[in-house]
């Protein structure tokens, strides 16, 4: 039976193409499961998972918890908007305290880039990175690719533009790695102040004109502006941002082709996309959410099967 090449999911850049293929095939199975009348399988009855969220999260946390419960894992939750460091306890100590209660797997969201990588070197548990600062958010990128595959048949050869705050976005970075690994072409689009200066060295196109970007792409992944991560203003006003980088129905209808609209949520309606775009048939935003559970089930299942060996 095939297995993942890694013992943790710390980022897309640590995966290979076969890993993604395996995750998707496994997710296909779980997607079928969660659409049954009995949405649960007993696969992980002997596994205990701790969800450690050192940063606010609603949807990712719910999605992971649901995925874990549908696999019949035991679940404990720990949320703290403050990082452990501020409370005087180190991250390693916090996690080791929880692990000493016999926990097998840790799902962690953390404000600092590399927190998952760091933890994986110092504690004895399988780690899933649920977002670490502006570094990676691998399950989001996996579910995004999975949703593109579902909608368009394949990721390979597709043109995907990621629009918005690229600078502060772990979703953008993980998506770049995931899409490139599967043979898609990637463009980023946004105000120059929110695009990392050296991102073109990753082999992505950079565009500051939204219309040009949308005319180029098959899929547009609209990101939220992460005001909470900005220490200064990167643009003068939300109004002006929307004028340049918001997608509305008129713009969408004026394009040469019908593109697919994605959004990792939460949506700021009227800012990066208008309601009629978010709710249009071109939008697969809610499919992404459903696929998120299936993809996370697949990741947890595949990593747990490595623990059991």
């Amino acid at each position: 039976m095939s297995e993942l090449s890694v013992n943790h999911l710390l980022g897309i850049k640590y995966l290979n193409k076969q890993d993604i293929q395996l995750i998707f095939e496994t997710a296909d199975h779980f997607k079928e499961v969660i659409n049954r009348p009995i949405k649960k399988v007993p696969s992980l009855r002997d596994i205990t998972i701790a969800n450690l969220f050192f940063e606010n999260s609603t949807r990712t946390k719910l999605s992971f918890e649901l995925a874990e419960k549908r696999l019949s894992a035991d679940v404990i939750n720990f949320s703290s908007a403050q990082s452990s460091v501020k409370k005087g306890e180190t991250l390693i100590d916090t996690v080791n305290n929880i692990l000493s209660m016999k926990v097998d797997m840790v799902v962690m969201r953390h404000p600092n880039p590399g927190a998952g990588v760091f933890l994986s070197k110092h504690v004895n548990a399988s780690i899933i990175n649920a977002g670490d600062g502006a570094h990676e958010h691998p399950t989001q990128a996996l579910l995004d690719s999975y949703s593109i595959r579902e909608k368009l048949g394949d990721v390979k050869g597709k043109k995907v533009v990621i629009v918005g705050d690229i600078l502060h976005s772990r979703v953008a970075l993980s998506n770049v790695f995931a899409l490139q690994l599967q043979g898609a072409e990637v463009m980023v689009c946004g105000p120059k102040t929110l695009i990392p200066k050296y991102i073109n060295k990753l082999g992505v196109k950079v565009e500051t004109n939204l219309r040009k970007a949308l005319n180029w792409c098959d899929v547009a992944n609209m990101l939220r502006v992460q005001n909470e991560r900005m220490e200064i203003s990167y643009f003068p006003s939300t109004r002006e941002y929307t004028q340049q980088f918001g997608v509305n129905k008129d713009l969408l209808d004026s394009l040469d082709k019908e593109i697919t609209i994605m959004h990792p949520g939460p949506i700021n309606r009227g800012v990066e996309i208008t309601s009629d775009v978010a709710d249009s048939k071109q939008s697969i935003i809610l499919d992404q959410v459903q696929n998120g559970v299936a993809v996370r089930m697949a990741v947890i299942y595949l990593l747990a099967s490595k623990i059991k060996q």
Partner: protein
């Protein structure tokens, strides 16, 4: 102290015995005889080592020990021992202590703590009170007590008018003002060099621009004020160019580079290893090449280890939270010998003294013995076993180095490893 050094190759371009192998007799701390073969009738202690080389004592212009206040990082006693075993006879010690060294009595404290040691400690006083960047510290008074320079360690003076006044004021008594080359608003919350690696890692970047703006600003100020400016630890190619041009204009400016900035690019950070978290950050191959060229052509006056012991609690944490800094004394020779010829290595290890007003003593009969002893060729993998420092944050851990110090003879004392 009386010692007979046997068969040592002398590397000292100021000495008539340069590049020759000699026996050296030292009596009461003074070199009394140099000859190809000296007998030992008085049964002095003999020093014989494999491939023994000696040079004038080495000097490091930027060393941090932590005491007072951060003794968990390093004490003055063990710090000086580290310097001695690493081949250094003189170190300029930064004011990044708690409290900050910013008064005459603080300087006197350091001097008394380090007295009677083989290694000479030269205190650097803070430029501003508490290194807060607001008001000038009592520079003249500290100078009187023995401060060799004035520097708010790694803290840039954001206010250009304050830097202007500092340069003007210190020039009254020929004081050396140091300015950390970083424009803080541009560097922001950056924790590593801004480039492809920072982009991949999602870590905030410090653009080379942050350094270059500050260097350019300080050179403009120096041109206006006169006085003596030292820019510690530059890290970018453009900084080298700017300083080269300033020297052509005959501005009284010197600069240093940290050895690790000559050695590693930011690629090594891929794994979020906090031992590589240093300030200024590790840059690119282009920068390294320009810096090495700058050392070779003399634009960069001296190299420093920028030795900064950090205890494990401040390193074994998330990258964003980890402290900047690496120890470097122990690995200095071994790293430099991988980059430069022996002649250049010794030149950059000794040349900085003049700038900091520290006397040099070449290897000649009648001079006081101020000597570093080493094997420039031995190859080894640098490991924790090579660390004398209290803290083990070594950027060179696991690197293959070339050259190892045996110790020093200075201040009428010998500190030599077996």
């Amino acid at each position: 102290m009386n010692i007979l050094i046997k068969s040592a190759t002398i590397i000292d371009s100021k000495s008539e015995f340069h590049n020759t192998t000699q026996d050296i007799l030292i009596e009461n701390g003074v070199i009394t005889k140099i000859s190809s073969s000296i007998k030992n009738p008085k049964n002095y202690k003999e020093v014989k080592r494999d491939n023994l080389h000696i040079s004038q004592g080495w000097f490091d212009s930027s060393v941090s020990f932590g005491e007072p206040g951060y003794e968990e990082r390093e004490t003055i006693k063990n710090g000086l021992k580290t310097a001695a075993y690493s081949g250094y006879t003189a170190v300029a010690v930064n004011a990044n202590t708690n409290p900050v060294i910013d008064s005459n009595s603080d300087i006197t404290f350091l001097n008394s703590k380090a007295s009677n040691n083989a290694v000479s400690l030269f205190p650097i006083g803070a430029l501003t009170v508490g290194s807060k960047g607001e008001d000038l510290a009592e520079l003249f008074d500290m100078n009187t007590a023995g401060a060799v320079a004035f520097y708010d360690y790694k803290k840039p003076i954001s206010n250009p008018n304050l830097m202007k006044i500092a340069l003007q004021y210190a020039s009254n008594f020929d004081g050396l003002v140091c300015s950390f080359p970083q424009e803080n608003k541009i560097s922001g919350n950056g924790v590593m060099n801004e480039n492809i690696t920072s982009t991949k890692l999602g870590l905030k970047g410090i653009p080379a621009l942050a350094e270059e703006l500050q260097v350019a600003r300080d050179l403009f100020l120096l041109e206006y004020t006169g006085g003596k400016l030292h820019i510690p630890t530059i890290s970018t190619a453009t900084s080298v160019t700017l300083i080269k041009e300033a020297k052509k204009k005959k501005l009284d400016v010197t600069c240093s580079v940290a050895i690790h900035n000559l050695y590693f690019t930011d690629d090594v950070l891929t794994d979020f290893n906090t031992n590589f978290k240093v300030l200024p950050p590790l840059r690119t191959q282009t920068d390294i090449e320009a810096l090495i060229e700058g050392v070779k052509d003399g634009t960069i006056d001296m190299v420093t280890t920028d030795h900064n012991p950090i205890d494990i609690e401040d390193k074994k944490i998330e990258f964003d939270h980890a402290s900047y800094g690496t120890i470097g004394l122990e690995s200095a020779l071994g790293a430099l010998q991988n980059l430069f010829t022996i002649k250049k290595t010794i030149e950059v290890l000794t040349k900085g003294k003049t700038r900091f007003g520290i006397e040099s003593s070449s290897i000649a009969v009648g001079n006081r013995a101020d000597i570093s002893l080493f094997d420039p060729d031995s190859k080894y993998t640098f490991s924790k076993a090579d660390i004398v420092s209290r803290s083990k944050n070594a950027i060179f851990e696991n690197e293959t180095l070339k050259g190892k110090a045996y110790g020093i003879i200075a201040n009428n004392k010998a500190v030599l490893n077996s």
